[in-house]
Symmetry: C2
Subunit: 147 residues, 2 copies
């Protein structure tokens, strides 16, 4: 399967992006972004979105009743070029009556180890710290995912 | 430097994303995307945008007169999970009077080897094929970048 995009420079470091079906977005560098997105933001969203979809899909097939599902992602960049993310924190928040911890943990593991296409392209030098918070009717509980 | 995003599940495999300054976008899986973007599209745009900005910035400092600059990116996914991009074709198209081939080649090299943050996070199993086309007043000429 092939995915493609076309970027056209407009001015400064601004680019207009077009993908299939005429969908468009604007790119810009961090210093002057306005309504545009930066490449490093899109990268984080790609990673978080990829694993979020895996997990939502796996959990829903385990007949867990999910009322709310959020993913918080935070990347910390190296200070020197090429300034990639040396650390990425991913936190999943799953709420719903009777949500089981082991169902969430299993979904995270399958996403990390088997399904997430973006995750699978990352070098080991990009460290992922994963945690999840479950609100299953009682008080919220936060856990670390250790793989 | 820290970059962050928040994803909220809406329904199916749809998520609403919010980044700094209240900028939002919609995510969805490929099968039903509408106006939303897929994570794998965003990943390609992140990679292409990152290197496009590097190259635009480097070329402009070399006093090349760029009238048009486009980047075409095409990723070919593995057929089996985790279905990552086993091959990514990046083509740069630079037009402008007197654009020098070695200026473009040097900018591509610096982006690949030194500056591009997204590139720097990719495993070697993701193969990049890079080419560039120059229209410097005469007929267009296409070249392979071999690193």
């Amino acid at each position: 399967m092939v995915v493609s995009a076309k970027l056209q420079w407009s001015d400064g470091l601004k680019f207009t992006v077009e993908v299939a079906q005429g969908r468009k977005m604007e790119l810009n560098a961090i210093e002057e972004m306005g309504r545009a997105f930066t490449p490093m933001e899109l990268f984080l969203v790609a990673l978080a979105g990829c694993t979020a979809m895996d997990i939502q899909w796996i959990i829903s097939r385990q007949r867990q009743q999910v009322d709310r599902f959020e993913v918080l992602v935070r990347g910390t960049r190296l200070e020197k070029d090429p300034r990639y993310y040396e650390k990425i924190d991913l936190e999943y928040i799953v709420a719903g009556a009777g949500i089981k911890r082991n169902a969430v943990e299993r979904a995270i593991r399958l996403s990390q180890e088997k399904y997430c296409s973006v995750r699978a392209m990352l070098k080991d030098s990009v460290k992922l710290n994963i945690s999840y918070t479950i609100a299953a009717g009682g008080p919220e509980q936060k856990f670390e995912f250790t793989g």
